[in-house]
Symmetry: C2
Subunit: 324 residues, 2 copies
Amino acid sequence: MQEHQQQILRAVTAVSKYPIRNFYFVACGGSLAVLMPGQYLIEQETEFPAFAYSSAEFTQRNPKALGPGSVVILCSTSGNTPETVAAAKFAREKGALTIGFSHLVDSPLWQEAEYRIHYSTGDEAEVNEYSNALLYRLLFAILDELQPDPKYKKMIYGILEVYPRNLKQTLEKYKEWAEDLGKAWKREPIIYTMSSGITYPVAYSFAICILMEMQWIHSQALHSGEFFHGPFEITDFDVPMIILKNIENDGRLEARAIAFTQKFSDKITVVDTSEFCYDGIEENLKKYFAPLIAAPVLRLFATELAEQRGHPLSVRRYMWKMKY
Amino acid sequence: MQEHQQQILRAVTAVSKYPIRNFYFVACGGSLAVLMPGQYLIEQETEFPAFAYSSAEFTQRNPKALGPGSVVILCSTSGNTPETVAAAKFAREKGALTIGFSHLVDSPLWQEAEYRIHYSTGDEAEVNEYSNALLYRLLFAILDELQPDPKYKKMIYGILEVYPRNLKQTLEKYKEWAEDLGKAWKREPIIYTMSSGITYPVAYSFAICILMEMQWIHSQALHSGEFFHGPFEITDFDVPMIILKNIENDGRLEARAIAFTQKFSDKITVVDTSEFCYDGIEENLKKYFAPLIAAPVLRLFATELAEQRGHPLSVRRYMWKMKY
């Protein structure tokens, strides 16, 4: 705990003295999905422009506004993702302030980023030391320096003290759902996910990193707001969708998609993030916790699905097995 | 022609006198894909923050930086897309300058937006009066007011005088490809698309509006930079992908995906946007024309596919047929 806290403090001190012009959140795949709620949060709480880009897209685009005054936050578990390491180097050469999140200390990303924050992974670790929780701890601390507000301190307290218990309780609640769904959908060749806003990244990550990568199941993370402008025409009685109902905006976008798809498909499952456990969390802060809880809830289903299919989540056919 | 030009001029005059703080590009589905290269262009050519959002996501997010100083550009062919009309109203109430693109004059979007630009659609219309071409004509004219540069005038000239011919020639070149592919892939239940940067929106639109909406074929627009961080594990000998090779960055991201997928799938087709016809276009402006040509090239394939499958592109099962 102490180590994370010191690393965060160093980054917060640097950022709070820095003439901030904009924020870029840069990573690949699942790590990008971890950072996306950070982009959302900055956009909600400040007038600073905030962008989230896949690492290679970031360097390829080379946005003209990137330079001194830019805060570039990067993430890679191994710290060895070539595109993310390159993005850190690129941003630093452009004069940006870089903060790298990495599980592996002294990794290439650790070398390239000016400020570095170590995070934990795996079932043994404390959930408030995972990348997504540490990102929030960093960002809410930055916000509290820039524009002090008791809610930011409450948010940090919430992550440290309340979130682990709420997560645990919520997971208990969804255990049976995961077991039933894992069995029911074991032979599905395609499973869509859907969400919007702050929980969209969870749907995105589940589609590309769990279903496609770890289960070789075709997928797409549909955006609930885009659904009726094209994708909904593939709705059919046998097309399964996991709809992650957003807590913001009363989940209005998802509610519309749920009402529609439940009429025409027999395979719609809804995970309503407003029904998660948020004990001790103020109403206006709940939304920030939704993705932190939603990802492990969906992961319960992934574990059951993998078990039912005899296809462990650790199996790959290309990743780590060859040069590509 | 005259009418478009006057509408553009009015908007350009207003924007060039406006204390611009940021740009938002807001629409749904295919219209959002039309606007996305605008976001890209502003990000490339200026330091103004530029964002592209699906209309409902835009109003749900309600970014704190939205307000006086925001230029909000919206698009809807019917001018009747409820989320886009609501977004125009929302942005205007927040004090933003709104510019609405609509095919239908006097549509609800036409009423809500402060400045309005009519665009043409269909095979009979001039291609430089389509929404994507008019968006460029607007944005390059704005740029030329804000930061005059001969290349912007060249770009506008290119759209007006050169692009229609280049498009026609390119389409000739891809005719046979489209016929062959339409036949070969007529029984495919899933077809992925892939691209990055300025041509990603074309891959996105083709996946959700053509394949899913008009052909009921499962799809996802993969991002070439994200591909190796999850999605590539679904690559298999019988998984078809259309890879739209970007002209920027020598198509490096796609080249890597092409090399990999061609090793493991027998169904990879590559549309290399650097091989399009760009006669009379300067090297550094070619990339802006790539999406304008790529969309009709892919559409050739859609037409053939629809013909082969006996499933006209005009057929819907839900859209326009019921309340949803």
